[in-house]
Symmetry: C2
Subunit: 155 residues, 2 copies
């Protein structure tokens, strides 16, 4: 899993699309304006998203982008994987004998953790995020935060 700023832009843009795409397509110009991301950079990101069928484009006046499937069927992991092409980290893909014992043990641990992070993000959908926020704003503005204290250093 690779969570770069590029992935953040994509997630942010997809969130904007999910929120504003209820009635009719959303133009990249609108998302660009809303989120402060350059139009051409959005075009690049959406080219990748379209390849993975996460969005669907409609050309011409009144056109724009729709979600490619329902917000509940699009996970955060889907979005990030679409724009941040997956790179295999450990050179030994489990197969090659990578200098044996200690090294591959660490690689296994890392791979497990990596899978866990992926699954965590795979289990959060765009729909989840939108609903979660709607519930929140019903209650109050921004007081409650489910995310409590980590262990110590939060900066």
């Amino acid at each position: 899993m690779r969570l770069s700023t590029k992935g953040r832009y994509a997630v942010t843009a997809m969130l904007d699309l999910a929120l504003n795409g209820k009635n009719g397509p959303v133009t990249l110009a609108e998302i660009s304006e809303n989120q402060g991301i350059s139009l051409s950079y959005l075009e690049q990101l959406f080219a990748a998203l379209r390849n993975k069928e996460l969005v669907r484009g409609v050309r011409g006046p009144g056109g724009g982008y729709y979600l490619g499937k329902s917000a509940d069927e699009i996970s955060i992991a889907n979005i990030i994987c679409a724009v941040d092409e997956w790179v295999e980290f450990t050179r030994c893909g489990g197969r090659q004998n990578c200098s044996g014992g200690a090294r591959c043990l660490t690689h296994t641990l890392w791979d497990d953790l990596s899978s866990e992070i992926f699954n965590f993000l795979a289990n959060i959908s765009l729909g989840d995020l939108v609903r979660r926020n709607l519930n929140k704003t019903e209650d109050e503005e921004s007081s409650l935060s489910v995310v409590a204290n980590a262990d110590s250093q939060a900066a």
Copy 2:
């Protein structure tokens, strides 16, 4: 949260240190050999880790690095934050009026998700990873994987 390859190197190196540092310090030369990371790059990473007191260096022959605290007190988030300096993503730090409604709503959603990812990684310690693997190898080699199926695309 920013999970780059740099963070991966740091986590991998710290895992190696946790595994091999039971009796005596571990040299960067060993970690470099084990994990296939250049010595000088490790030095840079460990400079950052030392600043956050996640490791403790001992100079001279027989020297090397110890964990700065127990493996249970070091979270994956700690490690990643030490080497991948935190960057504020949304320009409006919640305070500035960032063109109002739709934009800040998306930002709030993103910030919540971001916190959630951080807390997820903050709740996994080096000790967890090591123990998890010991249990696994007791059972069998590599057959079971707790991380089951995500939704669809795993590549």
